[in-house]
């Protein structure tokens, strides 16, 4: 479903991605793991062109999104993204946050969009917050709304950029549960995370990145029990 070939990204003199090649299958759940500064987030952000790759190609269902002629806005509608800091629209209610893009981008009828939004809010357990403003929500609630907002566009792929890093510890679980149930539903997902337990349980594949390179690409069991590279072993030693 996603094909990445020879992807590099350079900020000024700093090469953050040093040639990444990989394939993500439909329905695959990928957890991206690695030390900070290894390029995980940059890699994720390249997948919906929030960062423009310096070299290399990315195709999604055969569409080369790195091709300047591609209508990237259309492709982005199919790729949901959840950010570390939620980025809910503060001047809109929860319901309006969720219905905004379906109505304004997809042209959905407001009534239909609202019905769909309420379904999604029920799914993330926030039915009672539809008319609240984001400032009234806890971090965990905000992140669940953000997930609902992305899902409202009915994406084929979901990208999570450290979705629990900005949360108080007691709120991590409620968000991970939502993501896990999404993974179980067969969504293609890439998740940048520091939650090793979650990665081990929920992911089909672990990508271990270090210094801009995709060092390991293995099953969770294998990665966490017998990492192949010395760098991965050292990393696991530090975090576990």
């Amino acid at each position: 479903m996603i094909n990445v070939t020879g992807l590099t990204k350079t900020f000024g003199k700093n090469q953050v991605l040093k040639g990444i090649t990989t394939t993500v299958e439909k329905g695959e759940v990928v957890a991206l793991i690695g030390p900070s500064g290894s390029g995980k987030s940059t890699f994720l952000r390249c997948l919906n062109m929030l960062e423009t790759p310096t070299t290399g190609t990315i195709t999604i269902d055969g569409i080369a999104i790195t091709d300047p002629k591609t209508d990237i806005a259309r492709v982005r509608q199919r790729i949901g993204m959840v950010f570390q800091h939620f980025h809910l629209f503060p001047h809109m209610t929860v319901l309006d946050n969720i219905t905004f893009a379906p109505i304004e981008v997809k042209g959905l009828k407001p009534e239909a969009a609202r019905v769909k939004a309420r379904e999604l809010l029920a799914r993330v357990g926030l039915s009672d917050k539809a008319d609240s403003y984001p400032s009234r929500l806890s971090g965990g609630q905000k992140q669940r709304v953000a997930i609902a907002r992305s899902l409202a566009m009915e994406p084929d792929i979901m990208l999570f950029d450290e979705p629990t890093s900005a949360l108080d510890p007691e709120m991590v679980k409620e968000v991970l549960n939502v993501i896990r149930s999404l993974a179980d539903s067969g969504m293609t997902m890439l998740i940048v995370t520091h939650e090793m337990k979650f990665a081990r349980e929920a992911a089909d594949t672990i990508y271990f990145l270090d210094d801009g390179k995709l060092v390991e690409r293995t099953k969770p069991e294998q990665f966490f029990t017998s990492p192949q590279s010395e760098r991965a072993a050292r990393f696991l030693e530090q975090v576990l």
Binding site: L50, A73, R76, I79, H87, F89, F100, Y133, S135
Partner: protein, 487 residues
């Protein structure tokens, strides 16, 4: 030359606007019913009481000594009189192009003018007059030696005062300014025309006047006609009859009354708000003009300022340069200069005779946009960059993102600055009176020059401005609270 050039232009424009704003052209009412009677059109610049002025208290009709004389002469000759109000500087041209049949506008018969028009006999001669405090009067030119003497800039008396030996001159723009300077003792005396002096002393009982001998050659007023006009002889005939019968004196006595008895004064403060009686509706109409003008220029400034701010963050070099240069120029030059330039240069450069109100709205909008573009740019930059990324990730197109996601948040950031700008615009709008827009300030000036009182009208409009600003800030606070409901 009896008059100040620039001021006349401004005042004439006001008078013109007044006619339109308040009553519609006064002269046309009589024109409509003139079927069999022959009609004469008289040009005048109604900004010079008591010769001719707009009667702001009563429907804005044009009244004055010249008007009474003209009415008498034309009725004697069997004509219907129509009055065309125009800028003093345009009167000669109006005669030459046949738009008017004759001109009476306290016009001196100078040699320069005689080359272009014919004049009747003199019907009145203005006298130069010394006005000073009653407590320290000056009666002769000699006594002014070594004194500080005020004059109105560009007036005949201003030129005349140059010849007073030993006197030091202080030239002011307006008659009310002279009064104020006299009252506060900053000048010892003022030299003005007799008609003006009568009004000054009437309105200010503390002031005394002393007429200097009349000089027909210098200050004689006459009726102007197109060259070779057959009317000159018949007008002169009626004029000499009027002089003999005392009709002319009768009319001039009506318009140049003896000084009234001094009014009682309280605590020596020379402020009497009763002079505003009758002018209140006239001044209050200026609120509408001021508000309309502020609204138009604020909206224009906001829209254009937004466009400029988008230029600045567009990342397209030529647009960025343009917006930066624009801001630099409009912030770096005085608003008054921009206003005057736009008003006077537009007709010369484009041939389009830009109305004063439009020129003013344009100047203020353009200027305000320069300031607002910086404010808005700052407001946009202050919106979390994650908002933009979230919108992009959802596939929201740029325009929709800016309008629906970024601007509402930027607006909240900059609302206090926007309110400040509106308050500033509201107050600075008083500058537009310079090009004759009939706003609050202009109307106060009209009342000041009609009543020859310096302070009352100013205090009154200051209070109005203050109330308007209070209303505006209250409204803004409500809006801010509404925008903050999401916090």
């Amino acid at each position: 030359m009896t008059r100040k050039k620039l001021n006349t232009l401004f005042v004439a424009l006001v008078a013109f606007l007044l006619l339109f704003l308040m009553t519609g052209p006064a002269g046309q009412a009589s024109a409509a019913q003139a079927e069999p009677k022959k009609k004469l059109v008289m040009g005048t610049s109604p900004d010079y009481p008591p010769y001719e002025s707009v009667d702001a208290k009563n429907n804005g009709e044009i009244v004055g000594m010249d008007i009474d004389i003209a009415k008498y002469i034309t009725s004697q000759l069997g004509y219907e009189l129509e009055i065309a109000s125009m800028d003093f500087n345009g009167l000669i041209a109006a005669l030459q192009t046949g738009r008017v049949d004759f001109v009476m506008s306290a016009m001196s018969a100078t040699d320069e003018r005689r080359q272009n028009v014919d004049f009747s006999d003199y019907y009145y001669a203005a006298r130069n007059t010394i006005v000073s405090k009653k407590s320290a009067p000056f009666e002769t030119l000699e006594s002014l030696s070594g004194k500080l003497v005020g004059t109105q800039l560009g007036s005949t008396q201003d030129l005349f005062a140059e010849t007073i030996e030993g006197a030091q001159l202080k030239k002011l723009n307006k008659i009310p300014d002279l009064i104020q300077e006299l009252n506060s003792g900053r000048i010892d005396a003022a030299i003005v025309e007799d008609a003006v002096a009568v009004e000054m002393t009437n309105a200010n009982p503390d002031l005394a006047m002393n007429f200097l001998p009349a000089d027909l050659e210098e200050n004689g007023y006459a009726i102007a006609f197109p060259k070779q006009s057959e009317l000159v002889a018949s007008f002169n005939g009626v004029l000499s009859d009027m002089k003999e019968e005392g009709k002319l004196d009768e009319i001039s006595r009506k318009w140049f009354p003896e000084p009234e008895k001094p009014a009682d004064k309280l605590l020596g403060i020379n402020i009497d708000f009763s002079v505003l009686k009758g002018y209140i509706p006239y001044i209050l109409k200026g609120v509408y003009v001021t508000l309309l003008f502020t609204l138009v220029s604020a909206l224009f400034g906001l829209v254009w300022g937004t466009v400029l701010s988008l230029f600045k963050i567009s990342g397209i070099k030529p647009l960025e340069w343009f917006a930066t240069a624009y801001t630099s120029v409009f912030r770096g030059t005085p608003l008054l200069v921009q206003l005057t330039l736009i008003y006077y240069a537009t007709p010369q450069l484009t041939g389009y005779d830009i109305p004063a109100l439009m020129a003013a709205g344009l100047a203020f909008g353009l200027n305000s946009a320069a300031y607002l573009s910086e404010t808005i740019r700052g407001g946009i930059m202050a919106v979390d960059k994650g908002q933009r990324e979230a919108a992009i990730a959802l596939g929201v197109p740029y325009r929709k993102m800016m309008v629906r996601i970024i601007f509402p948040q930027a607006l909240r950031n900059i609302l206090p600055a926007l309110v400040n700008e509106c308050v500033a615009l509201l107050k600075e709008s008083s500058l537009v009176s310079v090009i004759g827009v009939a706003d609050l300030m202009r109307r106060a000036d009209v009342v000041r020059s009609n009543e020859f009182r310096a302070l009352e009208a100013l205090l009154f409009i200051a209070a109005i401005y203050y109330v308007l600003v209070l209303i505006l800030t209250t409204f803004a606070r409500m809006l801010e609270r509404r925008l903050r409901r999401s916090d």
